[in-house]
């Protein structure tokens, strides 16, 4: 089960409304993505917590429908 880049972006935006998101479909197969997410909401959080916020936004789809999503987070 693949997800589109738009779906991924929508889910993240819903949870982190201020975020700036750049998504790349690494192999053009709708199954291997990388996402760079920038948000003020990451401020004061550890890397682990920042990534957990993104995983929460994806509502359990990570590791399930979403096989490979490389995540990079930055604070704006």
């Amino acid at each position: 089960m693949a997800m589109s880049a738009e779906e991924i972006e929508l889910l993240i935006k819903e949870h982190l409304p201020d975020s700036e998101i750049t998504i790349q479909d690494l192999r053009g197969d709708g199954d291997h993505y990388s996402a760079h997410i920038k948000s003020k909401l990451f401020s004061g959080k550890t890397k682990i917590q920042q990534h957990q916020m993104v995983y929460t936004a994806l509502k359990g789809k990570m590791g399930d429908q979403l096989h490979a999503l490389a995540i990079k987070t930055s604070i704006i």
């Binding site: 890397k47 990534h51 957990q52 995983y55 990570m62 590791g63 490389a70």
Partner: protein, 112 residues
């Protein structure tokens, strides 16, 4: 995410207490079965850090259990001295920035 039963939780806790550096991974350090597990395994080897690789493909209870234990949805997962450090993306980023070496130095791990 599936529930974590007490046996599995104890098993994971015992593993991360028993070795300084533990990598929950798909496959083994010699024969990784997944690119992400392979990458973290290679970074650790490159840094001459000894680690215990635990193959979650062998035991499905561990595969789901460690995700619940760490509140982290993917494998691999790296633990250093009982503390969760991250998955592939974080380890790679920390390696590139030098933070990983710093962490091992601070925790007196490896032969650096």
């Amino acid at each position: 995410m599936s529930n974590l039963d007490e046996n599995t939780k104890d098993r994971i806790q015992t593993e991360i207490d028993a070795s300084e550096v533990v990598l929950f991974m798909k496959g083994t350090p010699v024969f990784p079965q997944c690119g992400f597990s392979s990458m973290v395994s290679q970074i650790l080897s490159h840094m001459n850090v000894e680690f215990k690789g635990i193959d979650v493909l062998v035991e499905s209870s561990l595969r789901e259990g460690v995700k619940a234990f760490s509140n982290w949805p993917t494998i691999p997962q790296l633990y250093v001295k009982g503390e969760f450090v991250g998955g592939c993306d974080i380890i790679k980023e920390m390696h590139e920035s030098g933070e990983l070496k710093q962490l091992f130095d601070e925790k007196n791990v490896g032969n650096s």
